[in-house]
Subunit: 358 residues, 2 copies
């Protein structure tokens, strides 16, 4: 059996528990067993026999039987289990990411959609990679880039079989994908930039403050994750990132003020769009990983209508790997955000680890 | 160490040996060791200590030191090795596919781009799946569909995490992709159908007799492979397949006669194309897996210009998975034929097996 401890039971965590629960109830031979749950205030551990938690009443049980959350006791409980344990970190916490080396020391495997460990301090990243090799513990993080899309697994396969990555380009943000797919097109109804950002915000496609999407930091983290996997020691502070929040709006105190002022810049975005459209091009917000030229960056670009990124719809992500073996790029496209597909990526990683420890 | 025996050392096999050789020479800790090679006439086995073959002189060694090929002695040699062995079948032989149950009985793992075992007799397929579960031996065949594109691995992940496949559609033939991408487009230079088939044949994109591509059988096999993976007992004899070779040309004796007669049917294809183009559509040859409606098929269709398959270029494959979690489909696109990308898929599978047996 694979013992599972889950940190973070919000949208993604709840969906993962629901996918796990369906799997376990439909597969008599399932090897997965959830034995510990934790959110920011409470934790629920099974008993000393490590029996599975009842996944049909986990929410109520966490609330009524849960004790005050304590990362140390949570991790110790998992690591003292007689069979191998996997900890799943569904948070976006830097603090928890900082503890991954400790998790590995304690003999735990890790699965996570949390980008922090792989895109912040380079030393932390290296420590995690070295420790996991040394201790033969696995850390899988497919859902950090493109959610459940097979991005990191494909890149890993290309690299370890000796292919040479020439360039990786992608639309890595579902939010910015939606905004520019709606805003910048050659045919169909046209809306103002601020109007589209407003619709995206109302539908929950953006962060509570849309500037947290428009500043490009989320895309930058994904570019750093991919660069490091390709073997380049890139960090957030050296990566050129185009922040498309108009400069005067960056210091406004609230999302409400920002949204109220954004229409003043509709002409600015409209000019960019018209210029692109005149050349039968569209605007797209892309991340570029350039291991050979060293010019990795995150920027708003104009792409010809025939470019695969130009035809994107909705809030899909798209990632194109140009390599020695794939001069015409290997392209992966689909929903890159949302609880169902993020949990799918986590669950897939869990299967990969379970296959390796049996 | 993982012992490797390779059957079939033509284009794909040679490329695989070259990728393996580069990997082994660049990675002191590589766990791969090629100990046996076989083609249709000769085989080369290492000695009783199972030392690695010299991969820099394998061609010469197979020719000069090789003995008459004998599948039984080849398999016995691998199975008697003190560590786990993987046999790689790079042929398209039905006879070798029929022996997979025996390979598994003998304790061997299998990697193959050979479609025969997974698309011919359903009983053989089931026997292989059951035996591999029972004996805990792995059989990986990513390269049977879309060469190295992560098609089967992605489908496996979707299914085992409990996603529900609604439809899989794809352009599964590099040859037919090229022919229709060139023939059916809204803009640009237009050529006659027979002319494009001629160019494809001259460039080696088609089988020696292009009717072996145009009859759809190769696409049908891939549709059967995917259907079976989704859990549907589809077979070649029940799958509707549109053979686009004009009926009177099917019985011609030679490829030369076929090519000489094909121009008589240029008007036929031109009419299909013009009708499609009038509605701003293009012709594409697709395979459809329809696990819910049961209407899996292989056919020539007209698709709107905005469809992701319409923008395809060169000889790329494209596969779209529409599922419960991906209502806007998860799409994988790229080169789906050629020695380098096929060997890449095989080598990736080899890594996956090696991770599971250590």
């Amino acid at each position: 059996m694979v013992n599972i401890g889950i940190i973070g039971v919000g949208l993604v965590g709840s969906e993962l528990i629901s996918q796990l629960s369906a799997h376990i109830s439909q597969n008599k031979t399932s090897t997965f067993k959830v034995i510990a749950l934790m959110n920011s205030t409470k934790q629920l551990l099974s008993n000393s026999s490590y029996l599975p938690l009842n996944l049909s009443s986990w929410k109520k049980d966490l609330n009524t039987k849960g004790t005050t959350s304590n990362l140390t006791s949570f991790i110790n409980y998992l690591s003292e289990s007689p069979t191998l344990s996997v900890v799943i970190d569904n948070t976006s916490s830097q603090e928890i990411a900082n503890s991954y080396p400790l998790f590995i020391e304690k003999g735990l495997h890790i699965v996570t959609p949390n980008k922090k460990a792989f895109s912040s301090d380079l030393n932390l990243y290296k420590e995690i990679k070295e420790k996991s090799n040394e201790k033969k513990r696995f850390i899988y993080y497919e859902s950090t880039v493109g959610a459940g899309l097979p991005v990191l697994s494909t890149l890993t396969d290309l690299l370890r079989t000796g292919d040479k990555v020439i360039k990786i380009e992608g639309i890595f943000s579902g939010t910015l994908s939606y905004i520019f797919n709606e805003f910048s097109k050659l045919d169909g109804e046209k809306k103002k930039f601020s109007e589209i950002v407003g619709i995206a915000k109302e539908n929950g496609y953006t962060e509570p403050d849309p500037r947290d999407d428009l500043n490009g930091l989320d895309v930058a983290r994904k570019v750093v994750i991919l660069s490091r996997l390709v073997g380049k020691d890139l960090s957030l502070d050296t990566l050129p990132v185009e922040n498309i929040v108009p400069e005067p709006l960056r210091t406004l105190n609230s999302a409400t003020e920002f949204m109220a002022s954004l229409p003043q810049y509709d002409d600015h975005f409209e000019t960019l769009n018209t210029t692109a459209n005149k050349n039968r091009q569209v605007l797209r917000y892309v991340g570029v990983i350039d291991p050979i030229g060293g010019k990795s960056e995150v920027k708003l670009v104009s792409l010809p209508y025939s470019h695969p990124f130009a035809a994107l719809k909705g809030s899909d992500n798209i990632i194109a790997f140009t390599t020695e073996r794939f001069p015409s790029p290997l392209i992966i496209q689909g929903a890159g955000a949302g609880a169902a597909v993020t949990a799918f990526g986590i669950f897939s990683d869990l299967f990969k680890i379970s296959e390796r420890i049996f």
